[in-house]
Subunit: 259 residues, 2 copies
């Protein structure tokens, strides 16, 4: 990807995980609703490539998108408990604004940050906690209909459907990444669910790197590390995107904080 | 269903098809954004059971929903070409308002008018027109992920996902009906697609009658007549809802206007 890549929500955790490992690999443009503190902007990124804008602002988004080859769209209200009015505006309307700007500017690819919350209600009382454990073979693979655990999850499922429409109608390449539990350094301690959907910082960067380099049409993939505990099938991410995770929450199983 | 039934969008085509055959079968409350002309209100419905309100108005919707046992939610911008701002507000936000009011008022069932446009992009150049013809066995059955043909279709798919959330989280019974091509008296002439997804007025009434009387958790069904041409599988509507369509677009095949 020689053209610039726009990263929306650059100041958030996912954005920072991506920039930590890929700062020098792409010609980044960063967009965030809040001015980014200096330490969140890689040295390789010039000040004029940093945009302060709300993703629901058509004109500001169009300006940031003009001339880019790809977009990683992370911006939105990240709170699972976010109220409807916020996810309607920031996540649903904001994502439509980004897709619309992408097709207007003839962008090649959009990687959209979806979430495990788009399918959180598959975790029923009957299935848990077994589904979080290695012996259990229950798997979601991205072909299932959404079952959101909250209105935030509804907004993420809607972003996926918007992506499907913009792919089918405009031939935009779209990949939706249902991001698991992103934590830095180690999986969440004493939290089987979080360990089953752990995504390490470096695997997060590897996965979005694949989203920028691989060829695809429309994909929904799960974004987790190569965990022994899991109920998300990552074979689609491996096959289509070439994702090769290097971390596994099992490696931390015997850690004193995990007892 | 002894409790009143709220019909939103009562003045539209689907609402009128339902009322034509079921006016005397339920204790109706009618809601529409515009004052309903006298001829659109059945004689059995009292004036104080007719509400003029926008479905995005939380308070007005809560008032109309108070005390009802079920809701048939049809209100929204019905235009396939409707712009994003309109479907965002009227269809997505409006549907969330209705579901929220339903759980607040402890309603049992919500039947949501989804649309063939939620899956219109399955009709690719490679599949059409064969998929509209009797010899072709391509079928959608409601388990497939949405592929909207327009932003209106995106809004309908989002309504389905909202229904899934409100069912999973609040145990509300929800059925989403992907309505085909509703025309009165006869299928569209010289329009294979419309004949394949024809829904006669009386079958429309029969189907929503089933939505009010059957027991279900969460369902997505296709709303078409028993057409010989078809690419929607209606077996789920038959099995779970007890839907028994009586019309078939083939019966009109030899009509002079169809040559």
């Amino acid at each position: 990807m020689d053209d610039p890549v726009l990263l929306t929500g650059a100041g958030g955790r996912v954005g920072q995980a991506i920039l930590r490992d890929l700062a020098d690999d792409y010609d980044w443009r960063l967009l965030d609703r809040e001015p980014l503190p200096r330490e969140k902007i890689p040295e390789s990124v010039d000040a004029d490539a940093v945009y302060v804008a709300d993703v629901t602002d058509d004109e500001a988004v169009a300006e940031a998108v003009d001339g880019v080859g790809a977009i990683i769209h992370l911006a939105g209200d990240p709170r699972p408990e976010a109220p409807w009015d916020s996810v309607l505006r920031n996540n649903i309307d904001g994502t439509q604004t980004v897709f619309e700007a992408a097709v207007e500017a003839d962008v090649d690819k959009v990687a959209f940050a979806s979430s495990n919350h788009a399918v959180g209600a598959f975790e029923t009382d009957e299935r848990t906690p077994d589904m979080y454990r290695p012996h259990d073979d229950y798997r979601l693979d991205g072909t299932e209909l959404p079952r959101p655990s909250n209105l935030y999850g509804v907004s993420k499922a809607t972003g996926e459907t918007l992506g499907r429409y913009y792919h089918d109608h405009y031939d935009l390449s779209v990949v939706c990444v249902r991001i698991g539990n992103l934590t830095r350094g180690h999986p969440p301690w004493n939290y089987e669910r979080g360990q089953a959907m752990w995504l390490s910082y470096r695997d997060c960067a590897r996965l979005f790197d694949c989203c920028l380099t691989a060829d695809y049409g429309y994909e929904i993939v799960y974004g987790i590390s190569d965990n022994e505990r899991k109920y998300y099938d990552i074979s689609r991410a491996r096959e289509v995107l070439g994702y090769e995770p290097v971390d596994n929450s099992k490696e931390f199983e015997d850690h004193p904080k995990n007892q």
